[in-house]
């Protein structure tokens, strides 16, 4: 737990969320000489992007883009980072914001921890690694993942057996079993909400039977399987470790579907599925890869070419929304779909040994309950002004990235920069008004 920061610390801007949007906004503000505090719920900054394998449409390594930004943020003289910390409420009065924070105990004193990992090596309790989507194992006390920032050990109280081995081996005496949650109120002039997204549950459509097969996986799980530093170092299916030979991508499995209450398009799924299909055909050159889609939304610069390349590479695109997925013998799955462009055998049951459900993006945090920020009907932060797309309904509070709606990394970074610019302009105008008086 970082205890250096207390209520006397008064940053110019507070960023809610340390993913790629929050980091970009924070760096853009800090580079202008403003003091910035980044508040992150997880044990490491980096958000979803640090867990990805590659990004479209360039197929650049995701961590090669994210890690430098995380590192720059961690070492920036104008920036402070609080991990394991949640925003409980924001109260705004006369353009100033009181942000109430809850720091959760990590049972490790971050001032003393040097990230040597001796505790992690000594710990004998393991549980499914959340960073690897449960495919690998992690120790009950551990640095969250290889390139996590901060490089500090965190103890998971839910899995710790309190044997005390870590405390005995720690060279700096950083383990503190008696840590308590800490409430903290930070006063600041500007807030940027970059709280990101979460994915709709795999089980949101019961017709897909995701609860009945381990081989129906989330796209983020496939990202980990495809990542060079992933759980297995190669693509194996979860149920039996078999190398999959026929993989299906089911598009719109958690969005554009009014029957599950998510009518909007999640925007990124078409492109990330095409990207994953391309990476898979590299990882498993003999595998058949099929993408079941309603329509391909390749909306960005170079995206349509990316889609055409995927078709040319031999990835099958079948137009039709998958209605059911049946677990069949051998851990395989039968996909029930009307292939709407195939008049000969439109209703053939198609057998695959791994199915990826393109889950939709839903809001990661709903600030409307505890802050002056209003949310739109879809649950994402409302941005009512067409000419100021990062302005929320509350003056001095801005929004960036997927907190405002589903979008990809390119758009997120652009929007994060815009939010930072709006925030710094707001701070400048507010302070020059004070000077003038």
């Amino acid at each position: 737990m970082n205890t250096q920061i207390d209520s006397n610390y008064r940053p110019d801007a507070l960023i809610v969320g340390g993913g790629i949007a929050g980091l970009q906004s924070a760096l853009d503000l800090a580079d202008q000489g403003l003091q910035v505090l980044v508040v992150e719920r997880q044990s490491s900054i980096g958000g979803h992007m640090i867990a990805l394998s590659k990004v479209y449409p360039t197929l650049d390594c995701a961590s090669c883009i994210t890690t430098p930004k995380m590192s720059a943020a961690a070492h920036h003289p104008n920036m402070q980072i609080l991990t394991n910390t949640e925003v409980e409420a924001i109260e705004s009065r006369d353009g100033a914001h009181q942000v109430r924070l809850l720091q959760k105990p990590t049972y490790v004193n971050f001032d003393k921890c040097i990230g040597c990992r001796l505790c992690e090596y000594a710990c004998d309790t393991e549980y499914p690694d959340p960073f690897e989507e449960g495919l690998g194992a992690v120790r009950a006390i551990a640095v969250p993942f290889t390139n996590a920032i901060p490089q500090k050990a965190v103890l998971d109280a839910g899995h710790c057996g309190t044997c005390g081995t870590c405390a005995r081996v720690c060279p700096t005496g950083a383990i503190e079993f008696d840590q308590q949650p800490r409430h903290l109120t930070i006063r600041t002039d500007a807030v940027i909400v970059a709280s990101g997204f979460q994915l709709n549950a795999l089980t949101v459509k019961p017709q897909f039977n995701a609860h009945r097969s381990r081989n129906i996986i989330a796209p983020i799980t496939l990202e980990r399987l495809l990542a060079p530093h992933g759980p297995y170092g190669r693509v194996l299916r979860p149920s039996d470790g078999k190398m999959p030979s026929s993989i299906a991508f089911v598009q719109c499995a958690g969005s554009r579907d009014e029957s599950i209450g998510v009518p909007y398009c999640s925007r990124v799924c078409c492109m990330y599925s095409i990207k994953q299909a391309m990476l898979l055909s590299g990882a498993l050159p003999l595998a058949d890869i099929t993408i079941y889609y309603m329509d391909i939304r390749a909306f960005g610069k170079g995206y349509e070419q990316f889609y055409q390349n995927a078709k040319a590479m031999g990835i099958n695109f079948v137009r039709g929304k998958v209605a059911r997925i049946h677990p069949v013998d051998g851990g395989d799955l039968a996909v029930q779909v009307e292939s709407t462009e195939n008049a000969e055998t439109p209703m053939e049951l198609r057998r695959h040994d791994l199915v990826v459900l393109a889950q939709g993006m839903i809001p990661g945090w709903m600030p409307a309950d505890s802050t002056p920020v209003a949310c739109a009907s879809d649950g994402f932060v409302a941005t009512p002004a067409l000419t100021a797309p990062t302005a929320t309904t509350a003056p001095g509070i801005f929004v960036a990235g997927t907190a405002a709606g589903p979008k990809d990394i390119v758009d997120t970074i652009a929007e994060a920069g815009a939010a930072a610019m709006q925030a710094s302009q707001y701070l400048y105008q507010k302070r020059s008004a004070l000077v003038a008086v």
């Binding site: 017709q207 009945r212 029957s259 929304k321 209605a323 009307e338 209703m347």
Partner: protein
Amino acid sequence: MARVVDVNLLRKIKQHGAGSTLDVSACFNCGNCTAVCPLAADSAGFPRRMIRMAQVGMEQELLASEDLWRCYACGECTQTCPRKADPAEFMAAARSYAIGRFDFTGLAAIANRSAIGNLLIFAAFSAVFSALLLSKMNPAGPQLPLFSFLPGQWIHDIGVILFAVVGLSALFGVASMGVRFWTQRRGEGVALSFTALPGAVFTALSDALTHRRFRECDGEQQSPPALEEPWHQRPWVVHATVMGGFLAMLLATTLDFMLKPIGSPAPPWYPMRILGLVGGIVCLYGLSIVLLRRAQGKHTPYTKSSFADWFFPILLTVTVVTGILCEVVVYLPSPSTFGHAMFFTHVVLAMDLVAMLPLTKFAHVLYRTLALVLFAWRHAPARVTASVGAEI
């Protein structure tokens, strides 16, 4: 072949839907409905293709399609439709539209589209039958037996003429659908052999009587199960009780007319009487479930109800109830005014029921049965399909 497109087709079908909530224009043809349908598996014919036909105005293709009538409205497609376009209600509306198009008098279109039209037609028929009965009614007081109050022979004569007229009208409707099917399938190059027709008729009739297809529609085999009703409230069981009960009553009435002088007394254990009574009670059970579910509006396929959806089961219920009351009245010590009123009402309503067969939802007995025949015929083993590939 030149194709005529009706640009107003979707709008016209929507007028037949239940209320203004049918938003089938929202459909973007993803195919979820067809893929999820327990019955579409062998042909992929519906609901998506039906909706597409309606959207682009292919009326001939839509009306010629036996697939339209193979749907039993389990509602699975509506529950899972990503656009809330309500494919099940569209199918029902399209069937209602088809009933209107197959009926040459134009009355069916009016009856199915508007509640007022439906009631006016009903009132007109009732007035005609009442007038006919009144013209020979014996007003000599409440002591008369029922068939002296209304002469049995007169009822019989009206009935014969009525059956002849309605039979012709039904024949026209069936021919209207059959010819469309024939033209369309021949145009598509489907070879239909008449030697396979008797087999198809047999298959269709046995399917209709055993509810084989309807049971497939139940959704029980699906994972997760689509319906959670107890077995005695499943849609196919409910339909089977209404249909079975109705057939039993029809058989009892027919045999009664054939085997026994009209109006002659019969003991309570008289087999035709027992058959009719049991049929009536079974039929009433099914109808009560239908009406209850429609009133609740929660269970598929009864979530949405147009006036026509209400009219037919209510008419049938009242007819059956008055019929059962007549059976009771016969054994009262002396026939009363109440008994005469029940008998009069029952005869008028029963005649309405027959007269309105091609106009109401009752018409499904014609078109669904024909559709089952056509489907079995088309997919008979002897068929030879012209290969598209061979032409190229």
